[in-house]
């Protein structure tokens, strides 16, 4: 039966405790949420989607070249209109002829993406990634970020035995006008709870399996209590609901919350155990039922506890910083940037057919023997060593990075050596998610794709490195 063969979770490294939020505002609208994930200034739904998908693909038994469909879900694509799916495909080096869809506009988008992938033939990748924003005074309080990725195939380890839908118009629960960044809600409490409960109940009840047999359920969760209210008319135990509730540890990660909850369940589930998923958003509920479980790459991210304070939180999320790059003296044109994506995403270096030396980026003469040659394309390792290091302090960044620095503070820039062929590729790159004082020459680092900077309104992405100690 068609279902899930592998899964990966990615959560940003830092956490903000609700206590911090409450101390800052005198109260916190985040019931039962202990802490939430905080995306770094260079992270967005795209980079988190790629990070989760990398983990899922690494733990999958199939090659990424076999993927025939990508179904993505997010309410926060970095651009309201523009390249998203195509960038995801390129960043992961998925086949150019892969089919794709992006579900957006409501928090049940993950359910939509599942439905699309389950209806298709051949290996598919489902990814939900989200980082919703709201008014910092209240709506933002519960909002976290994260991503979950699923490799879908026939004869799957975890079959999805059924999927069901229910739609009814119930506006005002969670909405965001075109052009706005922050989600809003009319907060008509009873109306909202009833609408969500009814929709999810109808969808779950429509499944061709008995929900009362489920040992776990990942249900729409905007706070810790909400999934229990949603389950009020369903034959689900509190233990089952608790097993699929992650909002207390990661916050409301929009369209990614239920998918992350599902993976949290699958990581613990035994063979034959039944799990129910219940998505809700925009008046639509999607329910599905899965059987069994398997180890989930990145599951330890759920236990992340690296705390930051509220001021740092506001900076990282960009609530208090807005940067605009003014005209300047150095420029990489967009076409030239596009021409280097194999290097910026996949670390493709050149091996000299004459001397075997490695050149990165693989252009011009060989860096070792200086001959003009046709390089052999080789992919450098995504793990490497810091060879040289500096820390760019506040105010010391080139203008392209002024906003990043305002949001992230001092950042480290390393020259990293990566094994490639019989030699090494070296490149300069920023270190992400790291205390710049806590890294040193000789440390091991691992590649991750992040937003590098935005120019002329177009965000540009490329490789950075995370410390592995």
């Amino acid at each position: 039966m068609r279902g899930i063969d592998a899964g990966g979770i990615y959560l940003p490294r830092f956490r903000l405790s609700t206590e911090e939020t409450a101390a800052a505002w005198g109260h916190a609208d985040a019931r039962g949420i202990d802490r939430k994930t905080v995306p770094a200034a260079d992270e967005d739904a795209l980079t988190m989607a790629v990070a989760a998908a990398e983990r899922a693909l690494e733990s999958a038994s199939l090659e990424r070249s076999a993927i025939e469909l990508v179904a993505m879900a997010t309410t926060t694509p970095p651009m309201a209109e523009g390249d998203f799916l195509s960038r995801f495909v390129r960043m992961l080096a998925l086949p150019e002829d892969v089919a794709g869809s992006v579900s957006t506009q409501h928090t049940a988008a993950g359910g939509e993406a599942f439905a699309r992938a389950l209806d298709a033939d051949g290996p598919a990748l489902v990814v939900a990634a989200d980082c919703p924003e709201g008014d910092p005074a209240d709506a933002d309080h519960p909002l976290g970020a994260g991503a979950a990725a699923f490799v879908i195939d026939d004869e799957a380890v975890v079959p999805v035995r059924d999927i069901a839908w229910y739609s009814d118009e119930t506006p005002g629960i969670r909405f965001r006008p075109r052009g706005e960044r922050e989600i809003d809600s009319l907060d008509v409490t009873t109306y909202e709870r009833s609408a969500v409960r009814e929709a999810v109940t109808e969808a779950v009840t429509a499944l061709e399996v008995d929900a009362s047999e489920a040992t776990a359920a990942a249900l729409h969760q905007r706070d810790r209590k909400f999934p229990y209210r949603v389950a009020g008319d369903l034959p689900l135990s509190n233990e089952a609901v608790a097993a699929g509730t992650v909002v207390d540890r990661i916050g409301d990660a929009g369209a990614a919350t239920v998918p992350i909850g599902l993976l949290a369940v699958l990581a613990e589930a035994d063979e034959g155990e039944s799990t129910v998923g219940g998505f809700f958003g925009g008046g639509t509920a999607v329910a599905l039922e899965l059987e069994g479980g398997f180890p989930i790459a990145g599951i330890d991210d759920l236990d992340g506890e690296e705390a930051i304070g509220y001021t740092e939180y506001l900076r990282k999320r960009g609530y208090v910083v807005e940067g605009e790059v003014a005209g300047g003296g150095a420029n990489v044109s967009l076409p030239n940037w596009q021409g280097s994506l194999d290097q910026r995403y996949r670390l493709i270096a050149g091996e000299c057919p004459d001397c075997g030396g490695v050149t990165f980026p693989p252009r011009g003469a060989c860096q070792e023997c200086h001959s003009r040659v046709e390089f052999e394309r080789i992919e450098a390792s995504r793990t490497g060593t810091i060879r040289a290091l500096t820390v760019i302090g506040q105010g010391g960044a080139p203008p392209e990075f002024a906003e990043l620095q305002q949001r992230e503070g001092a950042y480290a820039v390393a020259i990293v050596a990566l094994a490639a062929g019989d030699g090494e590729a070296t490149l300069p790159a920023q270190l992400a998610d790291v205390d710049p004082e806590a890294v040193a020459v000789g440390d091991t680092v691992r590649a991750t794709i992040r937003r590098i900077y935005t120019q002329e309104g177009v965000p540009r992405y490329g490789v950075k490195f995370r410390s592995e100690g």
């Binding site: 003014a326 005209g327 300047g328 003296g329 150095a330 420029n331 990489v332 030239n336 280097s340 050149t359 990165f360 980026p361 860096q367 070792e368 060879r387 040289a388 290091l389 500096t390 820390v391 760019i392 302090g393 010391g396 960044a397 080139p398 203008p399 392209e400 990075f401 002024a402 990043l404 950042y411 820039v413 390393a414 020259i415 070296t426 490149l427 300069p428 790159a429 920023q430 710049p436 020459v441 000789g442 590098i452 900077y453 490329g462």
Partner: protein, 389 residues
């Protein structure tokens, strides 16, 4: 090939002069250059000019060279603007030497100019990184301080060099620059000041970095025949070395050396028929403190990894065996990018004339070392004072 000689060299004051323009600064340097010539040199004898500038601030990007020579009354003289970042006028000088040596001209003017301090703080940051490798190095979020800091981190890791050694470079060069009335930062600093300054790009602090400076400098290069008309003792260009290297530090295979410096130095020594042991003084490119230490090693003043020791032992102090950066160097005298290379030759000229502010003892051989960017282009020149026959 005939020899080329330096018959005059001068500079404007280096500093922050927002009321000046690149034209007025060069005018001042040119006047100082003419005044340095023994006897009256009619400007009509100047056959051509090679002027270096990066063009910080994006002012006259095209044709600034002719704009300068017309401004100073060298009407109609063929002028080439040379751009090799911080080595622009080192290369302009090389062009002038080549022109004279070839026999095509008898007198060539080399010089450089830069205005850096009249631009907004944000605008300046754009320009400070434009000579780094643009597509990768800059896009990793570094300016020049960051790239040199990376070299420092690697040198500190590989050898016994310490952060305090970096600070000692500043102490020495400021002590020299304090005596130079044309220096930008003409004050002394204590080791404590230089150790405790705020960080710019770890491990480099403020005292490990040269300032941004406005200024201009010029040198007159002439054939032997002309030179003999304007002086008893001749200053010969004994060795002219230059070399290019990969613009990005990450592309060079070494992080603790500037290979183009090594090659340029070897070429200059070979042509001069001397080695570093024969030098009586040197002006080296200390845009950042680590750069002076790398220069000691790259130019053979000491073995690899020994630069810190050389400095600590006082070898490069004014009373040491090889006084280095008696002008104050880029650190104290200042670094108006395009003016730096010929500015170093101004100090060399004054040393040979016995007119330097920190004078060495009757030097015979001196060296100037000018680096573009983090090592994409380097010139090294060896000069010899020829005693009157």
């Amino acid at each position: 090939m005939r020899d080329a000689y330096v018959i005059g060299a001068g500079q404007s004051s280096f500093g922050s002069f927002p009321e000046e323009t690149y034209l007025s600064l060069f005018e001042s340097a040119f006047e100082s250059t003419l005044n340095s010539v023994e006897g009256e040199l009619p400007t009509e004898v100047i056959d051509e000019a090679h002027l270096g500038t990066l063009g910080v601030g994006g002012r006259q990007i095209g044709l600034s060279g002719p704009a300068v020579t017309e401004h100073i009354g060298l009407h109609g003289v063929p002028t080439t603007r040379v751009e090799n970042a911080c080595a622009a006028s080192g290369y302009a000088f090389r062009q002038a030497v080549t022109a004279v040596r070839s026999g095509m001209v008898d007198v060539a003017l080399a010089g450089g100019y830069e205005v850096m301090t009249d631009t907004s703080a944000d605008g300046t940051k754009w320009w400070l990184g434009v000579s780094g490798e643009t597509e990768w190095e800059r896009i990793s979020g570094t300016t020049f301080a960051g790239v040199y800091a990376q070299m420092a981190s690697a040198h500190l890791e590989e050898y016994d060099t310490t952060v305090e050694d970096l600070s000692r470079v500043a102490v020495k060069n400021h002590a020299n620059g304090a005596k130079n009335p044309k220096a930008h930062l003409g004050f002394e600093c204590s080791l404590e000041d230089a150790v405790s300054a705020p960080s710019v790009a770890d491990p480099l602090n403020l005292y490990h970095c040269c300032p941004t400076t406005d200024g201009a400098s010029a040198v007159l290069v002439a054939s032997e025949e002309v030179a003999r008309e304007y002086g008893e003792e001749l200053i010969r260009v004994a060795g002219a070395g230059a070399s290019s290297g990969r613009v990005g530090l990450f592309q060079r295979g070494t992080l603790t050396s500037i290979p183009a410096s090594v090659r340029a130095g070897e070429a200059a020594y070979e042509e001069a028929g001397i080695g570093p042991e024969n030098l009586d003084f040197a002006e080296v490119h200390d845009c950042f403190a680590i750069a002076e230490l790398l220069a000691y090693e790259d130019l053979g003043f000491c073995e690899r990894g020994e630069a810190g020791r050389l400095l600590r032992e006082g070898v490069t102090d004014p009373d040491g065996d090889l006084p280095t950066n008696t002008s104050g160097g880029l650190k104290s005298k200042g670094h108006p990018i395009g003016a730096t290379g010929t500015g170093q030759i101004v100090e060399a000229f004054e040393q040979f004339r016995g007119e330097a502010h920190v004078q060495t003892d009757r030097p015979r051989y001196g060296l100037t070392h000018n680096v573009g960017g983090s090592g994409g282009g380097v010139t090294v020149h060896v000069f010899e004072r020829e005693e009157a026959a």
